[in-house]
């Protein structure tokens, strides 16, 4: 069932786009507020601002003070969360249908009335630095950060979403507040409601809570920096105490709005099995069991695990292939196996059945990842923010229209040596570094 079935899509006079999708299978509603702001809208000195703003938006607003915000959704049997990514920031509640207005009111408050009290900003600073340090405990996170930073020279996709620690230590309350107001204008947001609700009532509630919110006078500055073409392979080497060697191979890749995205998505599915397009739920970066990557890296005994994924981003991001090695002596063998596997798909015959299998997997995966109102609402909002829903819904048709030769052409264009950055994590034993 396409997501756009019965979808109501309209815009309030203040520019807020609203997507309503009634479905009555469970007595629940899922409400999502999406903002077109992420780490790519940050600059040196304010890296991590979007993510920090997200944290501050759980700390009380003018009309819902801190102590009320605690438990406000839980009292409706609800689950709430939020995340910040490179292109967007989002907040969600899935709760009993009786709680619809509570969720709508909370998101309206968050859109323009968050307090950002200085004491709360400082207390959250340590929480976020603790989160960053927790991430650093994981060598895979550390390597990802280093590899991405090496792959991008100009485009702000090079910032880690959580920010650099120096910026987190230095940013002021006013830096954050300005980032918030500038980007949380209704005309920079999409509100999504999916579930068991009456459309007329929902529209009235939305008008009541969001109608009065004024636009921020100046539009956010668009990100105009384009990453210049890469002219040669780059390497990022990371050494630290750890358990296993890790390899990340990243190629600059087309964004979701580029027509090359779809042939590369098919190529990715041929190489490693489909990852899907829902980064919030069900996204699978691990290689499928019958995929070529699995056979060449895992069945061969070279790696303990391996995977690949193409992120659906607004601007060109990266296509990443990763592997967990058993021994660091295997780095050259694993790297070569990856390159050879890519070459084989491009230059040697690929059975028709393999292409068909890949399409079935992709079709199943896309069905799985929009199961339930929470996932449906996520997919609607995610793609409405960076692209459009029709384009998302056309993914299967577009991928079906891609021929094997089309996928190979995309691979030849993007998956070439000069366009890649290779990151390696070399685990050190504790004795050496002490």
């Amino acid at each position: 069932m396409p997501l756009s079935n019965g979808l109501i899509d309209y815009t309030l006079p203040n520019g807020l786009r609203v997507l309503l999708r009634p479905t009555r299978f469970a007595p629940l509603v899922s409400v999502w507020a999406w903002y077109h702001v992420g780490s790519k809208n940050e600059g040196s000195g304010t890296t991590g601002a979007s993510h920090w703003v997200e944290h501050m938006n759980f700390k009380g607003t003018t009309n819902i003070p801190r102590r009320q915000i605690k438990g406000i959704i839980e009292r409706q049997g609800g689950f709430w969360n939020g995340y910040t990514f490179v292109d967007q920031t989002t907040y969600m509640e899935t709760l009993r249908k009786e709680g619809l207005e509570t969720a709508l009111r909370l998101e309206a408050e968050r859109m323009h009335n968050s307090l950002f009290e200085p004491a709360e900003v400082d207390s959250e600073r340590t929480v976020i630095i603790s989160e960053l340090r927790g991430n650093e405990n994981d060598p895979a996170e550390l390597l990802d950060r280093e590899t991405v930073a090496a792959a991008f020279r100009a485009h702000p996709y090079r910032w880690p979403v959580i920010g650099w620690q120096g910026d987190l230590e230095a940013m002021s309350r006013d830096d954050l507040y300005l980032h918030y107001r500038r980007h949380y204008s209704p005309d920079n947001a999409v509100l999504v409601v999916v579930g068991d609700f009456n459309v007329r009532e929902a529209r009235a509630l939305i008008k009541k809570h969001y109608g009065p919110i004024e636009r921020w006078p100046e539009s956010p500055r668009p990100v105009t920096t384009a990453e210049p073409p890469q002219r040669g392979e780059r390497r990022a080497e990371v050494r630290r105490v750890g358990a296993t060697p890790l390899l990340h191979i990243c190629y600059h890749a087309p964004g979701f709005n580029d027509d090359d995205f779809f042939p590369l998505l098919l190529f990715d599915a041929l190489l490693a099995g489909p990852s899907g397009l829902n980064i919030f739920g069900g996204f699978s970066s691990g290689a499928g069991r019958s995929s070529r990557l699995y056979r060449e890296l895992i069945d061969s005994g070279l790696s303990a695990s391996a995977g690949a994924f193409l992120l659906p981003t607004e601007h060109p991001h990266l296509y990443t292939i990763s592997a967990v090695l058993k021994n660091e002596e295997d780095f050259p063998a694993v790297e070569n196996a990856v390159y050879q596997t890519i070459e084989d798909i491009i230059h040697r015959p690929v059975p028709k059945a393999e292409v068909e299998k890949t399409r079935t997997q992709l079709r199943s995966r896309l069905a799985y990842e929009q199961e339930g109102i929470t996932s449906m609402a996520h997919q609607l909002g995610f793609f409405a923010t960076i692209s459009d829903i029709a384009r998302y819904e056309s993914v299967l048709d577009r991928v079906s229209a891609v021929t094997l030769d089309g996928a190979r052409t995309a691979a030849l264009k993007y998956l070439e040596a000069d366009n890649r950055t290779v990151g390696r994590f070399w685990p050190q034993s504790p004795e050496v570094t002490k």
């Binding site: 069932m1 479905t23 299978f25 469970a26 007595p27 629940l28 605690k70 438990g71 839980e74 009292r75 409706q76 049997g77 609800g78 689950f79 899935t94 709760l95 009993r96 207390s123 600073r125 340590t126 929480v127 976020i128 603790s130 340090r133 927790g134 650093e136 405990n137 060598p139 630290r240 105490v241 750890g242 296993t244 069991r289 019958s290 995929s291 699995y294 056979r295 895992i298 069945d299 303990a304 695990s305 967990v324 090695l325 058993k326 059945a353 068909e356 299998k357 079935t360 997997q361 079709r363 199943s364 995966r365 069905a367 799985y368 199961e371 339930g372 109102i373 929470t374 504790p430 570094t433």
Partner: protein, 418 residues
């Protein structure tokens, strides 16, 4: 409201539960065998997990490449999990491919025959996974705590995934013996939920899983209880070059069928769960800004799993976080929790069930767990009224009985503290 679940026992003894959900064009299959890591011989701990990892690596008829090809060409997503007491299979597939998916599942669970080279490859992968776990302070803290609470001879004190040494000791005969002892149709419960009529499911299951001949019985035995430590016991595991410390504090808690289970669920929600970690999270995370995560929980299963407090904090904040957790445990034990807090927790837990059963996978795993514990099909519908019927005194008495801030074990893993 009714749960509308079809129950059937196949001729080979396997129990089937089926339910229609028209909301999604997918089907979830969840299957559990009464076979878990608790029965692993101590010198070969991790055997059950090792064996489950090899379930798609070869059968009497087909090799791993054929099986992998088949799984992927059906768009079947399938995973196996080895718990303390059960070996579980979780799969999803589009409705149109349910029948061939069930036939394939029958083959991999009824006739597993992984060859020796697949065993060696898997051993390598497990060893790497264990090395990575040993590099993760949160895992190390949790495993150290379990060993302290239960001791090395108790099945809950051992790491279910095994150790480098125990995994090295597993041989192909052990795997085969495990399959023979553990995988039998009568020792399995299968639950199927999706956009298909239960009667149709029953026919498909009878024609596929039903063709598996064998006996077996679905029976789970709780392990022995252990006693609380007379006084606090502490252990620190130094991990070089880590930036954050992980704290795990706890002691043996309760079984799922303990009469205090519901009261403690409400009580613990207030103590360490509601709104990012309840009273404990409020102080550790919000008021003092010390941690990215902090929570408490009772791991109530077939046997009495641990009650734990977990947090990730900067090394210099470990003592303070522990102090706060103990202080809140004491306060909840001595003074109880308020009627307002109970109301909030009940609303939260009650509403959570509706979300839990919204997806096919969520409904299937809920039905499976209800069946394993004998709670009845309509348990998830009755759940909120069960909680509502609890009196404040029951909840506070249960907290007083089960919070032991002076008899805990504490494991900390992280960089050398200051």
């Amino acid at each position: 409201m009714k749960a509308d679940v079809l129950h059937a026992t196949l001729r080979n003894g396997m129990r089937l539960l089926a339910r229609r959900n028209p909301a999604n064009p997918t089907v979830s299959i969840q299957l559990a065998f009464a076979a878990g890591a608790v029965n692993d011989p101590p010198s070969k701990s991790g055997l059950a997990g090792f064996a489950k990892s090899l379930l798609t690596k070869g059968t009497a008829k087909h090799d791993t490449a054929w099986i992998a090809e088949k799984i992927d060409s059906l768009g079947l997503e399938i995973g196996f999990a080895s718990g303390r007491h059960t070996l579980g299979l979780s799969a999803r597939v589009l409705v149109e491919n349910l029948r061939p998916a069930l036939a394939l599942i029958r083959e991999v669970i009824a006739e597993p025959q992984p060859p020796a080279d697949e065993l060696e490859k898997m051993r390598g992968r497990i060893v790497t996974a264990i090395r990575r776990r040993l590099d993760d302070p949160a895992t190390v803290a949790g495993e150290t705590l379990a060993a302290m609470i239960y001791g090395p001879r108790h099945p809950y004190g051992r790491e279910p995934q095994g150790t480098l040494k125990s995994i090295a000791a597993v041989e192909l005969e052990d795997i085969q013996a495990f399959y023979e002892a553990a995988l039998a149709p009568g020792a399995a419960i299968v639950v199927i939920v999706g956009d298909i009529e239960p009667n149709e499911i029953e026919v498909l299951v009878a024609e596929t899983l039903g063709r598996w001949r064998g006996g077996g019985e679905f029976k789970l035995e709780p392990p022995k209880d252990v006693s609380l430590p007379a006084e606090p016991r502490r252990k620190f595991v130094a991990m070089a070059e880590k930036t954050q410390s992980d704290v795990a504090l706890g002691y043996q808690g309760i079984r799922r069928l303990d009469p205090d289970y519901h009261a403690l669920q409400v009580g613990n929600t207030v103590l360490g769960r509601l709104s990012l970690g309840g009273r404990v999270g409020q102080r550790v995370r919000d008021r003092e800004g010390m941690a990215y995560y902090a929570y408490t929980g009772f791991d109530a299963g077939i046997g009495a799993g641990p009650f734990v407090f977990r947090a990730g904090v900067a090394p210099q904040n470990v003592e303070r976080a522990v102090e706060i957790a103990l202080d809140e445990m004491r306060r909840a034990r001595d003074k109880g929790i308020t009627a307002k807090e109970i109301e909030d927790a009940v609303l939260y837990l009650g509403g959570g069930i509706a979300r839990q059963v919204e997806t096919n996978g969520g409904m299937a795993s809920t039905l499976l767990s209800q069946e394993i514990f004998g709670l009845g099909d309509d348990y998830y519908l009755r759940y909120e009224s069960i909680l509502r019927a609890l009196k404040r005194r029951d909840i506070n008495d249960a907290l007083a009985r089960h919070l032991h801030p002076d008899n805990y074990c504490l494991a900390v893993a992280g960089p050398q503290g200051k």
